[in-house]
Amino acid sequence: MNRRFSWFNATSLTLGFAFLYLPILILVIYSFNESKLVTVWAGFSTKWYGELFRNQAFMDAAIVTLKVAVVSSTLATILGTMAAYVLVRGGRFMGRTLFSGMIYAPLVVPDVITGLSLLLLFISIGLDRGVGTIVLAHATFSMCYVSVVVSSRLVSFDRSLEEAALDLGCTPWDAFRSVTLPIIAPAVIAGWLLAFTLSLDDLVIASFASGPSATTLPMKIFSAVRLGVSPEINALSTILISIVTVGVVTSSLLTKRASVRRQQQERAAIAEG
């Protein structure tokens, strides 16, 4: 096979990346625009970032968003890890297939449906909508992502490590805490970061789950944009993009590096005999 870099490959790559990243690039560039007019370039400036931090409404929304993201991703990580553990370790139990299908369903169910059904649930049990309900909603849809990340790690986990822990006197919980968890920690952290970024940029589900008392940043941006795009919004979006990028990249590096290192160690072990 010819593995050289052909013109065809180069063009496809450029087109693909342009398609993906040009809009974002333009947004980032215009966030440093001196002019108030979004489409007219008038020189480099960071003044909109300063404006942004003086805008109380945006700052309030940012705080709500961070709170929601931290709490909901922690909740999702705990629930998702537990679900992954049961699915991978629980052996065959009644309804296992149904259970695993149901855990992964939110990956493909449209956000609007998830949001709407959560809204109906909150109304029917009479829960006051606000920060709490957004947290619940986000934990619900992001736990399946955590569960996917963690279970792919657990599948390659040598079960006899847990048995060795039991054999040496651990209770099952102690074995999980002192052997399983430290070893799968990179995957759990990666899952948390993923859940965190998912929560950070969710608009649809948050809109359904929130009430008048709580507005997240994406909701704020969306409503502001309807009155016209301001350079402030560009600045805010740039910051959000940076945070999300760092989160996703760290998460995938954590998963990838751990598995590469594991393979290296295994190879070294085999080589040494």
Binding site: D158, E163, L166, D167, L168, G169, A269, G273
Partner: protein
């Protein structure tokens, strides 16, 4: 009383012969099923304190399952397992005075060698200040004093194997289970480690149950060997007895090299049975086992090293058969001659090579006689 002390006084370590001896482990009609599949089939066995007991059998015969039931990772479908007179069925794995050395070693990758060894001790009632001393003692026992601070992936395979052993022994279990402990080591290291294991076992006096599919390993280390097949015990005996007096074709064939000749009992007279095995061939003469009846189907079994080979018919041999040399296998210390008898039956004869430069006495196509005494072979009916 250690085995050494017993040996020094000329006593033989054989509690299984003593009717009053209490077994440490008793499997009482244990059956284990996975769904419809019977992994362990109505198995009963006694294992005594200080024994080095080997479970030997082909892959899939249920060795690991038997061991996992002792460790507490599987529960018998029916039957009882007693440890020191107590039914351990209801006791979970983490409460049993039994430790296991896993085939994969199962060392905790996030802990150092010393922390791996201390892992079980920290979960026992041992006072904190004694744990460090115990870890040190175990590191000394397996000659890894310098490696306590390393992680498992920073040491060699042989060292990892010793860490796994030290970790399993640290809590001074009544019973140590070893599942194919040496399978991952190369041949030379494996042989050295076998002797190390025996040393450690004699020093500590712990009862060892080892699983292996390597018959040489079982014969080397064990005080008794249990040969298994399809979840059943075929024979349980000392290595010598298993080798010299196998109770069935299966055991005879599984352990070492052997010639098996199918036939029928022609006559039994004064302990000597005559076995007819092929038309136009002289019957074979061998010591008759008790209860052998005339006309029964049987199998004559003889080890290659008990078969002599000569150019002329030996005068006084109880059995002598003519044939010709088909193949010669040179093994260094021995040569194996494959001799084809007149009716096509192949017989292997093994001859030690005593002189370095002497040429083989026989070569391909030579007409030879194979011969053996009446007590050299065995008559098997199972």
């Amino acid at each position: 009383m250690s085995r050494d002390a017993a040996k020094a006084r000329g006593e033989v370590f054989a509690p299984w012969l003593d009717e009053n001896a209490e077994p440490l482990i008793r499997f009482d009609r244990v059956t284990k099923k996975f769904g419809d599949f019977v992994a362990i089939d109505d198995l009963s066995i006694d294992i005594y304190e200080r024994e080095f007991f080997a479970l030997l059998g082909p892959s899939g015969c249920g060795k690991t399952t038997l061991m996992r039931m002792l460790a507490g990772f599987e529960t018998p479908t029916t039957g009882k397992i007693m440890l020191a007179g107590k039914n351990i069925g209801p006791i979970p794995a983490n409460k049993r005075p039994v430790n296991m050395m896993f085939q994969s070693y199962a060392l905790f990758p996030h802990l150092t060698v010393a922390d791996n060894i201390a892992f079980g001790l920290k979960r026992s009632d041992m006072p904190k200040d004694q744990i460090a001393a115990r870890v040190d003692e175990m590191l000394g026992l397996v000659q890894l004093k310098k490696f306590g601070g390393r992680k498992p992936h920073q040491i060699s395979g042989g060292q990892r194997q010793r860490v796994a052993l030290a970790r399993a022994l640290a809590k001074s279990p009544k019973l140590l289970l070893l599942d194919e402990p040496l399978a991952a080591l190369d041949r030379k290291l494996r042989e050295e480690t076998q002797f190390e294991l025996m040393d450690i076992q004699e020093k500590l006096g712990t009862t060892f149950v080892i699983v292996t599919h390597d018959q040489e390993e079982a014969m080397t280390v064990a005080s008794r060997v249990a040969v298994m097949d399809h979840g059943q015990l075929i024979q349980v005996a000392t290595p010598e007895a298993i080798y010299e007096t196998p109770n069935s074709r299966y055991v005879a064939d599984f352990i070492g090299d052997i010639n098996l000749i199918e036939g029928a009992v022609k006559s039994v007279a004064r302990d000597i049975a005559e076995i007819s095995w092929a038309e136009s061939m002289e019957p074979l003469r061998a010591t008759a086992p008790e209860g052998l009846t005339k006309g029964a189907n049987c199998c004559f079994a003889i080890r290659p090293e008990k078969v002599s080979i000569s150019a002329e018919r030996p005068e006084k041999a109880a059995n002598a058969l003519p044939g010709k040399v088909i193949d010669i296998g040179y093994l260094g210390n021995m040569s194996t001659y494959h001799v084809e008898l007149a009716n096509g039956q192949m017989v292997k004869a093994q001859v030690p090579n005593q002189n370095r430069l002497s040429r083989h006495a026989f070569t391909w196509e030579d007409a030879v006689w194979v011969s053996f005494t009446a007590t050299a072979g065995l008559v098997l009916t199972a």
